[in-house]
Symmetry: C2
Subunit: 212 residues, 2 copies
DNA sequence: GCGATGGTAGAGACAGGTCTGTATCATTGT
DNA sequence: ACAATGATACAGACCTGTCTCTACCATCGC
């Protein structure tokens, strides 16, 4: 019975420190192609055969690396999740003090995968819109991403000194989801000025500048 | 199964003051079933056979009333569009003067099809997420809905006396889209308190109460 | 050096299922 | 009897996932 976990372990055992050869491994090519197609065309709209054709990989190579399409979708979302978390962590956070600019900058930063030509919104939100089954692992990954973002926003709201961090956090996440959805469905671009100004207004209000 | 649907016999009993009310039951049953299934399960996830089974209608009856599934999807969205427009028009608009409560109420109202048990967000946004082809008529309908909402919000922003109606309009629509998306993807319910408070803060800021 | 071996990958056929849409027959109400 | 509808079979396309066959390349035994 050949490998349960395909590439990673086998290559580390067999690799022998060899030069990373001519082209990327099949698994990487599959995942890159799938990520682009899933994001641009939609998960349900992209079939296995399309991924095969675009990545120049044999179908059996795909199914040796991913047990099913669902698992490939999960790998796509997991990679996005990791990338988004890393991007968030390394972000040039501008001194999260009692300054509105902190959270405003965070909300401004909250636009990964931002190809201006082919912006399709948040990949997790669209995945959740396409996959409604609550038991679907990909959907659960999407919801996990939302919780991660909420936790980070909440920490920033606390750091910014909001009177009610829960409320500000919820408001900013509403705004972020709205920016994603509007970038895809409306004609406003993702980096709309309204996002920044709304975030500033909400932060001002939450930090007592506007009311108390 | 003839006894499943009471509408079949109602057709002849109910005279219906309208002209061609007698022809509609089959078509209406199809459309009602399709609307519920499309909204709850997603458009791509629901096949013609499923609609047939749930509405108790023969397949040919469906294809006699709708030339294709795409046309049925368009009819579903068109009906939602009309309903949404009517709901918006008849809404108990609280005297759209220079009061923040006006737009706040509007944003609050902007949650149609709000079944608390099975909230799935904005049917137009999810349809646009599922159907990516820009030439798809259903997608164009979804975008038309967004424009309609924006126009109404803009009129309300003007009526509320915002300093920059365009900005406030964009901000409120961001908020609305965010509320829809969050109701579906996050655990916050659609009628979250954050929506109302954020709308109030944005309106206050736009009408000069918070800054100038 | 040289062939054998084993793991990886490409190409394509194929099976089984689902989807849309059409055609045909049966039923029912009037 | 007639028209509308239900029931069903079917065609063709597509999708997922399996299978076989072949090629390549690195290592291992000799």
């Amino acid at each position: 019975m050949p490998g349960l976990d395909p590439a990673a372990t086998d290559r580390s055992v067999l690799g022998m420190g060899e030069a990373e050869g001519a082209r990327k491994p099949a698994r990487d090519r599959i995942l890159d192609t799938a990520a682009e197609l899933f994001y641009r065309e939609g998960i349900r709209a992209v079939g296995i055969d399309t991924i095969i054709a675009h990545s120049g990989v044999a179908k059996m190579s795909l199914y040796r690396n991913f047990a099913s399409k669902e698992e490939l979708v999960c790998a796509y979302l997991e990679r996005n999740l990791v990338q988004h978390a890393a991007w968030w962590d390394r972000g040039d956070r501008p001194s999260p003090r009692r300054s509105a600019g902190a959270d405003e900058g965070a909300v401004h930063r909250a636009r990964p995968l931002d190809r201006p030509s082919e912006f399709q919104g948040c990949p997790f939100t669209t995945a959740a819109a396409e996959l409604r089954d609550p038991a679907n692992p990909a959907r659960m990954l999407a919801l996990a991403h939302k919780r991660m973002v909420r936790d980070r926003l909440h920490a920033l709201a606390v750091a910014a000194g909001a009177d009610e961090p829960d409320r500000l956090c919820a408001q900013l996440q509403l705004l972020m989801e709205g920016a994603y959805a509007s970038g895809r469905a409306l004609d406003l671009g993702p980096g709309n000025e309204a996002v920044a100004s709304a975030a500033a207004a909400l932060i001002d209000a939450a930090c007592g500048k506007g009311r108390a």
